[in-house]
Every structure is written in C-alpha cells, then in structure tokens.
C-alpha cells in the first residue's frame, strides 16, 4: 500500500491529470445524482401522497391536475359514495397560490380547498408540526406546508395573504419533501370564493358547487381500478385517475431523471476509466524492469496483478473523494443560494456520496485490471533484460 502511494507520486503531473479525469466524472455524477435524488424524493413522496385515492375530473380537463372547475352537487358526491367499495368521496378545489408564479423547476405552490371533515383521515399522511389541522365550518384560516412557512416566514397565529385574501395560519405541517410542503390548505368555501373572483365574467355555476376534482377514497386500494371503472360507468362526463395511473405518470418523470444519472455515469466511466487505463498502461511499460525484478525474486503472477490493481484503485478512490467533495460543495452552495425562495434543487444523501465513492473506486479497480494483467503476464527474462 505504501509502495502504491509512493508509486503514484513518481509522475505527479500524470497522476494529477488522471485523477482530474475521475474527478470530473464523479463531480458530474454527484451533482446530477443530488438533482435526481431530490426529484426522486419528490416523486416517491408524491406517489405516497396521491396513492391513497381516486381522482375524478371533468371529462373536458385535458390532463391530470389542471383546474377545470366542474360544478359538483352533493348528489354527485353522494352517488360516488354509495358505490361498492367506496369509503367516501370529497370535493377539492385546487388552484395556483399565485397565478403569476407557475413554479419553474420545482413543484408549484398550490392553494387547496378541502372539506376537512370528509377529506382528512389517517390515510392522508400529513402530520402537524405546530398548531392544528382544519376543522369543519371554519373560514379565513389555513394550514400551510413547511416550504411555505419557511419562504414567507410564517408561524402559527400569523396572517398570510393569498390571492388578496387574509388567512390566519392555524397550523404548519411537518416537512414531507413533496407536494404538501408547498400547499396551503384552506376551507373549501374560501377557495370557491377566490376561484369565482378570478373569473371576471362570472360563472354559470353556484359558487358553493365549484370544485376541480372529487377525490374518492376506496375501502381497499386494491379495488381502486374496479371502483374507477364503476365511477366512469355510473357518472356521465367524468374521467378518473387511479392511484396506479398517478404512479405511472410520476414514474415516467422518475425515469427521465434517472436516465440523466445513467448518462452522467456513462460519461464518468468513459472519461475516468480511459484515463486510468491509459495511465496504468504507461506505468506498466515504464516499470517493465521492476516487474522483472519482482518476478525474479519470486513474486507470483497474482501479486504483481494485485500491486497494479491497488495502484489503479487508489487513483480511482482519490479522484472519487475529490470529485465527491467538489460536487458536494457546489450542491451545498447552490442550495444555500436558492433556499431563500423556499426551493432547493439538490438533495445530498449519505447513500449518494457512498455510491459515488464506490463507483470511482470500483471504476479504478476495473480500469486497472487490463494493464495489471499485461504486467503480470510479462515474461520474467524479457522484463528483466529490457532497457
């Protein structure tokens, strides 16, 4: 090991350049990885958050979660509730918290009107960090996600102005790392008012009947597909999105981001791996005579192989550590710069750091095998008498 260390410093410039190759690869891997890690948490959390229920939208709503403002009647909700296997159905009106800010890279901030008595139960996995959750027949109050609390510097008891209306913050949610962090939950009636005021020419519907979706909670999630089909059969003009479909949509986003990681890894393999192979091949050809000496004094093939693989592994590990450090530093700095707006783009996890390091180390080892085999297979006499 000490010999391996002193060996890699025999050619400091070349070693530095080789390590730089790995550093670049691992740097990219770490930064991309932190990006994907964050997105995966959003996606997984979103998955969990949405996976408890069936969403029923107006048929005309183009896709998933666009506000379509279909009028609901109690009848409609009741009709769904009576279907086989349905626990309950509840109207929800969801709109952007600030219509001018659609939310770029991160999730959008949402204003979500709910009927707390029918919406909130144990299966909706939201925990209160401070204060309490909404109760039936309240108005002018809100429970906000952790990101909103941080971004607008809000505590329980503060007033929060949304869409030109004042709400008293009565609760702050625990951080979920996904959608609810950026949601302000308000009583449905308040959301309906806001919605109506935003439509200048007025609507044909009665205000208290407005909703963007009805959320249907099945008794058993396994029956969700059958229940969704039953809803579409029983109620005209609606489209359902099952937990399974939500998962699929979310999964697609996940695939894209994970492809980014794979891409970064491939680049790292090519850049880092080739530079290690190149360096080690040169190293072996420079040290042919030393290999001959070692063979002459009785080093078995395996020992020579091991010495060179260790050297290559060391290059990988050093490059990995530096790349990891540089990547982590960038991520921390960027996160610190954007955290003021309540948005962080990257998430560093110990697993990601460990993975990047192991990746570089294993890459070094693998890249070292071919040059090491060349070294180990040298004929002792030829190696010894080479100049």
């Amino acid at each position: 090991m000490t010999e391996a260390i002193s060996n890699i410093w025999r050619r400091p410039l070349r070693t530095a350049l080789t390590i730089l190759g790995i550093v670049i690869g691992v740097f990219a891997l770490t930064v991309m990885g932190a990006l994907a890690e964050k997105l995966n948490v959003l996606v997984d959390g979103g998955d969990e958050y949405f996976r408890t229920r069936i969403f029923v939208f107006d048929e005309g709503a183009a896709s998933g979660f666009q506000a379509s403002a279909r009028p609901i009647t109690r009848d409609l909700v009741d009709e769904m509730t009576t279907l086989e296997g349905v626990d309950r159905a509840t109207p929800v009106l969801q709109t952007l918290l600030d219509p001018d800010e659609v939310g770029g890279f991160d999730l959008p901030e949402l204003l979500t009107g709910i009927e707390p008595e029918t919406w909130f139960d144990d299966r909706v996995d939201l925990r209160i960090d401070a204060g309490r959750f909404l109760e039936a027949d309240e108005e002018g109050v809100t429970v906000i996600g952790a990101d909103l609390a941080e971004r607008y510097d809000l505590r329980v008891g503060d007033m929060f102005t949304m869409r030109a209306r004042d709400f008293e913050v009565i609760g702050v949610l625990e951080r979920t790392l996904t959608f609810p962090d950026k949601i302000a939950y308000v009583p449905l009636a308040d959301a309906q008012q806001i919605y109506v005021e935003a439509v200048p020419q007025g609507l044909d519907y009665r205000t208290e009947e407005l909703a963007t979706q009805i959320e249907v909670f099945p008794n058993d999630l396994a029956d969700a597909d059958a229940i969704a089909a039953a809803i579409e059969g029983a109620v005209d003009g609606v489209r359902t999105v099952t937990p399974e479909q939500v998962a699929d949509q979310i999964g697609q986003a996940s695939i894209v981001f994970n492809l980014i990681i794979v891409g970064a890894s491939v680049i790292a393999v090519i850049v880092g791996g080739l530079s290690v192979i190149n360096t080690m091949v040169m190293t072996v050809s420079e040290r042919v005579r030393e290999i001959g000496i070692k063979k002459a004094v009785g080093a078995p093939t395996g020992a020579i192989l091991r010495e060179f693989v260790i050297e290559a592994t060391l290059l990988g590990a050093i490059g990995g550590l530096i790349g990891l450090g540089a990547g982590a530093l960038l991520v921390v700095v960027l996160n610190a710069q954007t955290s003021g707006s309540g948005t962080t783009v990257f998430l560093l996890t110990p697993m990601l750091l460990l993975r990047s390091f192991l990746f570089a180390t294993i890459l070094g080892a693998l890249a070292g095998i071919y040059p090491a085999l060349r070294a180990a297979r040298l004929d002792p006499v030829t190696a010894l008498r080479s100049t």
């Binding site: 070692k294 004094v297 009785g298 080093a299």
Partner: protein, 267 residues
C-alpha cells in the same frame, strides 16, 4: 559437505527459434554444483552463459534436458511453482543491481519476503544482512543515494534474505570500478567461506573467474572446460590442523583468498 548436488543439470538445452533458423543458446549441458561451491561460468558474449544462468535460476524454461534443484526436478513445474523456487531457493545478483528505486535499502532487502509467508523476524534479518555487507548505516537510503558498490551489496543482502540454496550472480562487477569490484568479490568470498553460501558467478572477466574455486567455460552453448582449482582440497588435506585449531579454517580461507588474488592478477 553434502554429496548431493544443489543444482543438477543433464542435457540442459534451450533453443530459440527465429523464423526458420534456430539458435541453440544452451546445447545439452551437464553440470553438477555442490553445496558450498564458489564457481564461475565464463565465456564470450553469445556463448550462452546468461541463458544458462536464467535456466539454472528458473527464470527460463528449458526446451530439453533435466534440471533438479535440491534433488527435485523443476521440469514441468507451473509458473507459480517456479516463482516459489526462485523466491525460496535462488538468490539473484544482477550486473545493473536492479533495486526498486522507490524502496529504501532495507525495503529492497525485504522484497522477496513480501511474496512469501509472513516472517516475524524478517526486518531484523534484513538489518543483520545489511550489516553483514557493511551497510547497516544505510538501511533507510534509497538506491539513488547509494554508490554502485553499495547498491550491489544491497542486492547481495536481498539475494540472501530467504537463505537460498544458491546465489546466481550475472556479471556482478560489470558496472563497478576495479577497486569496488575487488571489495565486492571479497564480500562474496567471505559469504562463501564463513557462511557456506553456494555462489555461481557468470562473467567474461578472467580476473573475476580466477577469484573462484571452479571455472566452467562455455562456447556455443556447450561446456568446453570445467576446471577446479583445488584450494579447498588443499584445505581438506590439512583438515586435521583445521579442525584442531579453532578458527583455523578462516586462516586457510584467507590464505586461499590471497592465492586466488595472486593468480587472478597473474592472468
């Protein structure tokens, strides 16, 4: 002295093929080397002496013939077994010293031990050997900080560290000036005389060969002469005196040395 030879070659042959032609670098050599011998293999360049040394040292596989070390045939041994034989039974000393430049003197001496079973006394033994060759003070120096003669003495200590059956030295004084050469030969002679180390030196230098007890001459890959200078027989004839007087052997060895030098000088 053991009657069983340490090295025993019968019809040892190495043929190199270059295209259609073949070169019989070593061509059917018979050779017995007994424990405690101090001998030289002489010949002009191209006579096959280095190839013979490589064969005896198990660096090279013969194309024909038989070779036994310590009475055990090495023909048909695997690469790994040959490496073990080189590590445990053979010590090499090369013309170009061949130390590993990144290792200190003592680390170079320890090199063969690295590849064998762990020896707790390895470091103290290496130190002792460096002292034996007069480099006790230089254990922590790297090869570039040592003179040629010092480097070669480190190489000798390295060759001895595993207590080999035989030391094979390929032109060990080839890169040294005459004074240093003489000192180095003195060291080898002392190892042979005091410790009974078997030494085979390949050289084209008659003075070096003359300092040994036996000279095998090669030409075109064959033994053309095998001369024993019987300084030891002379000693043995006076064996009674040697055994009786404590340390007498050393006196006679030194006398032999002087005779050798005188002869070497007269050639």
């Amino acid at each position: 002295m053991s009657t069983m030879p340490i090295l025993e070659a019968r019809g040892l042959t190495k043929v190199y093929r270059r295209g259609a032609s073949e070169v019989r670098a070593v061509d059917g050599i018979d050779l017995d080397v007994a424990a405690g011998e101090f001998m030289a293999i002489m010949g002009r360049s191209g006579s096959g002496k280095t190839t013979l040394l490589d064969l005896l040292g198990c660096l090279l596989r013969p194309t024909g013939g038989e070779l036994a070390i310590d009475g055990r045939s090495v023909i048909g041994a695997t690469d790994g077994e040959l490496a073990t034989i080189r590590r445990e039974r053979i010590g090499f000393v090369f013309q170009e010293f061949n130390l590993i430049p990144t290792l200190t003197a003592i680390e170079n001496v320890l090199l063969p031990l690295r590849y064998g079973p762990r020896r707790p006394d390895g470091r103290s033994r290496a130190r002792e050997l460096l002292e034996l060759v007069g480099l006790g003070e230089r254990a922590a120096h790297r090869p570039t900080e040592l003179s040629g003669g010092e480097q070669q003495r480190v190489a000798i200590a390295r060759a001895l560290v595993n207590e080999p059956a035989v030391i094979l030295a390929d032109e060990p004084t080839g890169e040294l000036d005459s004074t240093t050469s003489e000192q180095l030969m003195g060291t080898l002679r002392r190892l042979n005389g005091d410790r009974g180390v078997t030494i085979i030196i390949v050289t084209h230098d008659a003075a070096i060969a003359g300092a040994t007890d036996r000279v095998v001459r090669l030409s075109d890959g064959r033994v053309v002469a095998d001369e024993r200078r019987d300084s030891r027989a002379f000693e043995r004839a006076l064996g009674g005196v040697e055994a009786g007087a404590n340390g007498g052997g050393r006196v006679w060895a030194r006398l032999g040395d002087l005779l050798d030098r005188a002869r070497g000088a007269s050639r």
